[in-house]
């Protein structure tokens, strides 16, 4: 079969991309590796999704459901429990092979939208040493055990990482009868939204320990204890500060990494800062016809923006104009900026840009310039690395469409 576009991944990014591409007239196949659509939202049963887009506080499955219902109204071909095993370029076409319960399937398409989400950093990724006992889980795995399998991973739980996932799991496990003995965070400031510190920890008297991390796990069959150490400014454990905490479960909420195996296979250049593809304002990667969106592009903190980038990609695939790409440089204390390129041959009036500050900053000014011209500025009283910022820039103002720089500096 031949399609205009194949969307890989049926989470919030892929759903939005497929719907938008279909509405713009493209023939679309959506390939999802799980038995149900919705991606990780299926297990994110807490609320707070969709405030930007719908002005409502939806739970994850509800947010996904709105898109799934919309998708059913389109002509998108959906292939569930389907796993892409190879993607190769053949002239202007991409050939995708995937397996599902019906066998090995082959499709051809002009465009691929990568909406493959992200994966969690593991215990090994942050070098927590000690025994190999049961009871040490990433937050996502723990969340799946609780919200999908309906089982409780531990009665006495330590959570490492104060990002939103860690905080939400602290509340979730408390509601289900577990005792969360503490949330530990290596950074000197909490990583999650302030709102979640309040409603997930403070509401349930769960202590938050900053500048502390788990340095060792101990237990023969199941986890029995963890060793906690204070850390210095470089987040290195300080010898002599070790302290043993009894628990039977350690939940690791220590970061997400964009999943880009397929992108790598297609030799799509990645940005070492985002760990996702380098894209232009339409989410098109440096390889023509390959798009990346959602958490595969860069880790978002609001699903609303995941959907937004999906729609950007989905809405752009029908365009046939030749791209003229210019680099967007960054200066100052910026962790990253997406997009990293500007296609000056594509519409430039409403370019959505996402960025994160590299450290906690106050009284900052963001400036976007083209050559010597300032095309956009915005002031920020406070910027935090965990909170992604979004701006819409009109590059049509610029007279010369080159030498683009995004700069963050003291006001």
């Amino acid at each position: 079969m031949k399609y205009d576009v194949a969307v890989i991944g049926g989470g919030p990014a892929g759903l939005a991309a497929a719907i938008k591409a279909s509405l713009s007239g493209a023939s679309v196949i959506l390939i999802e590796r799980e038995a149900r659509l919705g991606g990780i939202l299926k297990q994110c049963i807490h609320d707070g999704f969709g405030v930007v887009r719908f002005g409502e506080k939806l739970s994850g499955p509800e947010y996904a459901d709105r898109f799934i219902k919309q998708l059913r109204q389109t002509n998108v071909q959906v292939s569930l429990f389907s796993f892409v095993t190879s993607t190769v370029q053949d002239g202007d076409l991409y050939k995708i092979t995937y397996v599902c319960k019906d066998g090995v399937q082959h499709v051809e398409c002009d465009n691929i939208i990568l909406a493959t989400g992200c994966r969690e950093r593991t215990r090994n990724g942050i070098f927590i040493h000690g025994d190999r006992c049961a009871g040490v889980y990433t937050a996502g795995a723990a969340q799946n055990l609780v919200n999908i399998l309906g089982a409780v991973p531990g009665k006495k739980v330590v959570i490492l990482g104060s990002g939103d996932i860690g905080l939400i799991m602290a509340r979730r496990l408390t509601l289900e009868g577990a005792k969360v003995v503490g949330v530990y965070e290596a950074k000197p400031t909490p990583s999650g939204l302030t709102r979640n510190i309040h409603q997930c920890l403070n509401d349930f008297d769960i202590p938050l320990h900053l500048s502390s991390t788990v340095t060792k796990v101990l237990g023969t069959t199941r986890l029995e204890r963890v060793e906690i150490s204070r850390v210095d400014e470089q987040m290195r454990p300080i010898a002599g500060t070790e302290q043993i905490v009894d628990c039977d479960c350690l939940v690791l909420a220590v970061g997400l990494i964009p999943e880009n195996e397929i992108a790598r296979g297609l030799k799509v250049p990645l940005d070492p800062k985002t760990k996702g593809a380098i894209v232009d304002q339409n989410c098109q990667t440096l390889r023509n016809g390959i798009y990346a969106c959602g958490n595969a592009l860069h880790v978002n903190d609001l699903v609303d923006y995941v959907s937004e980038s999906g729609e950007t990609a989905g809405g752009a695939v029908q365009s046939r104009d030749k791209r003229v790409l210019r680099k967007i440089e960054t200066e100052g204390k910026l962790l990253y900026v997406v997009p990293q390129r500007l296609d000056v041959n594509a519409p430039l009036d409403k370019v959505v840009m996402y960025f994160r500050a590299s450290e906690e900053l106050t009284d900052q000014r963001l400036t976007v310039t083209a050559g010597d011209e300032v095309v956009f500025t915005k002031n920020y009283a406070k910027l935090l690395p965990p909170e992604m910022e979004r701006v819409v820039v009109n590059f049509n103002k610029a007279h010369t469409l080159d030498d683009f720089v995004v700069r963050l500096e003291d006001k």
Partner: protein
């Protein structure tokens, strides 16, 4: 022999008193030391030709942890009678059990963990050594070279992947390269095929990532790679296919002897009787010997840590690269050992770095620590500067079981007639096991015949263990056909390693009856990829529960008691 001179040396160097006693087989040491490295070093000083060292020097203030025993107690084996009881389900025990089933014998293998290959056999780099590092005639050399020669055939029979892709031992100086000529000569003498020296230019072409370090290399083409735990599992499964019984979660707690024979073997699952007992207990081999009143060697636990790299990592050598001796290491140890290890491409296509070697007092301490990780990474990134720390996706430790003589002990006991020791099995144990297992089976058969047991060939013996399906490696037509026969092979559960539901179901219904999350992982690699089971662990847990008809709360990671979850939602109380 007069040990007074050594006792004096110990006093001078380690400031401690050692008492020495000897009998016809062993030198017995007692005393006390402040640190464990000294205990081991002193033990080594007393190694003498023809004798074993039994080292009872204690570490001051150290209380040995009790052995970890399975959290099971029943009578499932009680009163049963066997021709041979094999103690230990590592590569040695499983290979021996399989070789024993070539004869019509009632064979029981007991393993205290919930699966085989849980000790050193499951935690090493899987290198099938060429044997170039072994200098003198010893059992390691004899069985290492013999084992290497038959590896391809054994793995073919047992349906296990084996890749003979050679090994480069890199030199950083011309002088070492000169010494290597001796190694080539020796290899020829020992019957190790094809060993040759590779020049600076050639090695730089073969493996450009090490060009700044290497002035040359020793190439051993017969070095190969196997998944050590999959081979161990395959041996155990083939033994079961041919009539042996494998009893897991079963630990030997005592051996009863009478008139110089083991008569009864006591376990946590009942007492059994046996005509012959084979001690393949790894780090506990000297304990088992002691249970039979036959303690004539000591095992000193040595921990090795390996690092696993993301198979998609850039900058990793595509060939197996071992660091040869350097001028510094030669002058330090006085010998140029060209050991295995290094940057290794495993049979599964992963990359491993390591191992290191650390002497530890606790036989079961397989915990990892940052020092070992740093040492291993530091050593190999020196040879290959393109390695990146961020590409480490996992690391693991295993405890090896060397004797002080650093050679295998493969013999029938001189004191307990029906006890056969397969002890001190360490590197190159994985290489050697296929060869020595045959000899051990012969020792057992000869002994049984000598005491009037009729040993007949097992006519139903089938050496072939069916190769597990690996859907990922099939071509599209084969894979399509397989999925059409069973749609489960089209449902991918582990996304990192591309493992299907069909493969996982087969792994759960294995002949050994191992239905654990790690058991599945060892058999089909589900959960071994870059997400380390973050995505598939809950799914595998659910599949195990469904396939074995148990509640999800009963599914374990590994040993009894390692349950994945502690209860159902709404049912947990603190």
């Amino acid at each position: 022999m007069n040990f007074e001179k050594i006792v004096k040396q110990v006093r001078k160097k380690y400031k401690t008193e050692v008492a020495v006693r000897e009998d016809e087989r062993s030198v017995f040491l007692t005393g006390e030391c402040d640190n464990w490295a000294d205990v081991v070093a002193i033990g080594k000083m007393f190694v003498t030709e023809g004798k074993h060292v039994v080292n009872d020097i204690r570490l001051k203030g150290y209380v040995e942890k009790p052995e970890r025993l399975p959290k099971v107690s029943d009578n499932s084996l009680d009163g049963t009678d066997w021709d041979v009881v094999v103690i230990g389900g590592g590569i040695s025990g499983c290979a021996v059990a399989r070789e024993l089933t070539r004869n019509k014998l009632r064979v029981l293998l007991v393993e205290k963990h919930s699966d085989v290959a849980r000790g050193a056999s499951g935690a090493n780099n899987g290198m099938v050594h060429a044997g170039i590092d072994l200098k003198h005639q010893c059992l390691k050399l004899k069985y290492g070279v013999a084992g290497n020669a038959i590896y391809g055939d054994v793995c073919k029979e047992l349906g296990v992947d084996f890749r003979r892709s050679g090994q480069y031992v890199i030199f950083d100086s011309r002088l070492i390269r000169f010494f290597a000529k001796g190694t080539v000569k020796r290899a020829e003498k020992h019957g190790i095929p094809g060993v040759r020296i590779v020049g600076k230019k050639e090695i730089a072409e073969i493996e450009p990532r090490v060009k700044d370090f290497a002035v040359g290399a020793l190439y051993a083409p017969s070095t190969g790679y196997v998944s050590p735990y999959q081979l161990t599992i395959a041996y155990a499964e083939n033994a079961v296919q041919n009539g042996a019984k494998v009893s897991l979660n079963t630990a030997v707690t005592a051996l009863e002897t009478e008139n110089g024979n083991v008569t009864r073997v006591k376990t946590n699952r009942g007492t059994v009787t046996a005509r012959c007992v084979v001690n393949c207990a790894g780090v506990f081999a000297d304990r088992i010997a002691d249970m039979a009143g036959d303690r004539y060697f000591s095992i000193h636990p040595r921990r090795g840590t390996d690092l696993m790299l993301d198979p998609k990592a850039q900058g990793v050598p595509t060939q197996t690269i071992s660091m040869g001796p350097t001028l510094k290491s030669v002058s330090k140890f006085g010998s140029g050992s060209t050991k295995g290890g290094g940057v290794i491409r495993t049979a599964d296509g992963n990359y491993l770095l390591g191992p290191d070697a650390v002497e530890i007092p606790d036989r079961e301490d397989v915990s990892t620590n940052q020092d070992s990780v740093n040492n291993v990474f530091g050593k190999h990134s020196q040879v290959c500067p393109t390695l990146r720390r961020g590409d480490i996706i996992a690391y693991f430790s295993g405890v090896r079981a060397p004797t002080y003589e650093e050679d295998f002990i493969i013999e029938r006991s001189a004191k307990v007639a029906n006890l056969v020791h397969v002890a001190g099995i360490q590197s190159p144990g994985i290489t050697a096991a296929p060869a020595f297992a045959k000899d051990v089976a012969k020792i057992v058969a000869d002994y049984l015949a000598s005491v009037g047991v009729e040993v007949l060939p097992n006519e139903r013996f089938d050496p072939v263990r069916p190769r597990p399906v690996k859907a990922k490696y099939l071509n599209d037509e084969e894979r399509d056909k397989l999925i059409k026969q069973d749609p489960d092979f089209g449902k991918i559960i582990c996304r990192c390693e591309e493992i299907s539901l069909g493969e996982i179901k087969r792994a759960i219904h294995n002949p050994l009856g191992v239905a654990t999350v790690d058991g599945v992982k060892r058999r089909v690699r589900a959960g071994m990829g870059r997400c380390q089971g973050g995505f598939c662990m809950p799914l595998v847990t659910d599949i195990i529960a469904k396939e074995t008809g148990v509640d999800v709360t009963e599914v374990t990671k590994d040993d009894v008691g390692s349950n994945i979850v502690v209860g159902k939602l709404k049912e947990v109380q603190q």
